[in-house]
Symmetry: C2
Subunit: 123 residues, 2 copies
């Protein structure tokens, strides 16, 4: 019997907003970090967004598998003691896809900012 800390984590945003951006987030992280494993990605996003975006396992792993199936990432398995760890790296196709995805999202945000007259804060 395993007790899971369901933890009712406070999502700052409606979960729908994340839809369509998860792949982009994962690709961008891989572009910046050469290779990462799943759990590491969830923690990195959590840390970088100060808990505002929490990627769930049920969303992440299928996404990673899809990226692999599409040839955007390659994998290598490593053993930490007896525990398996699966590293993901961008393929050349994946690097190009990352640039495209980021461009597309930026463009979409431009449009939304103009349409909704909102003013996001930038660094």
């Amino acid at each position: 019997m395993y007790i899971r800390c369901t933890n009712s984590f406070t999502m700052t945003y409606s979960p729908e907003l994340l839809k369509g951006t998860l792949k982009t987030i994962v690709l961008k992280l891989l572009a910046d970090n050469k290779k990462m494993y799943g759990y590491e990605i969830t923690q990195k996003v959590k840390e970088m967004t100060r808990d505002k975006i929490q990627i769930t396992e049920g969303a992440l792993y299928p996404t990673l598998h899809a990226l692999e199936a599409d040839g955007l990432v390659t994998t290598e398995v490593e053993y930490i003691g007896k525990r398996v760890r699966k590293y993901y790296s961008l393929s050349p196709t994946g690097k190009a896809a990352t640039r495209e995805k980021l461009k597309e999202l930026t463009n979409f945000m431009d449009t939304m900012i103009a349409l909704l007259e909102i003013k996001p804060k930038m660094a």
Copy 2:
């Protein structure tokens, strides 16, 4: 028999990106225009985004109905000749919800901009 112009309209963005933002777009338009009808909303968004965002009927009408069911908008029917036209207006609850939705989306964008190091263009 009715021939429909399926028109393979060129979506500038992956359709997934729109997910979760449609309600916000509709609410914001209603906040700015007092009352609007469905078809008018699709045309206004198309025009304001220079064809970049095209709201389909299959997405819009269920969304409007959901907003009504949630009490965020009220409706009144008008007849233009024999053709029916259904106007939507924000309720007080809807006005508050609009502010919340816009705040939430702005906040989400802040987070995405920081996370992905992207720089949207602002007016």
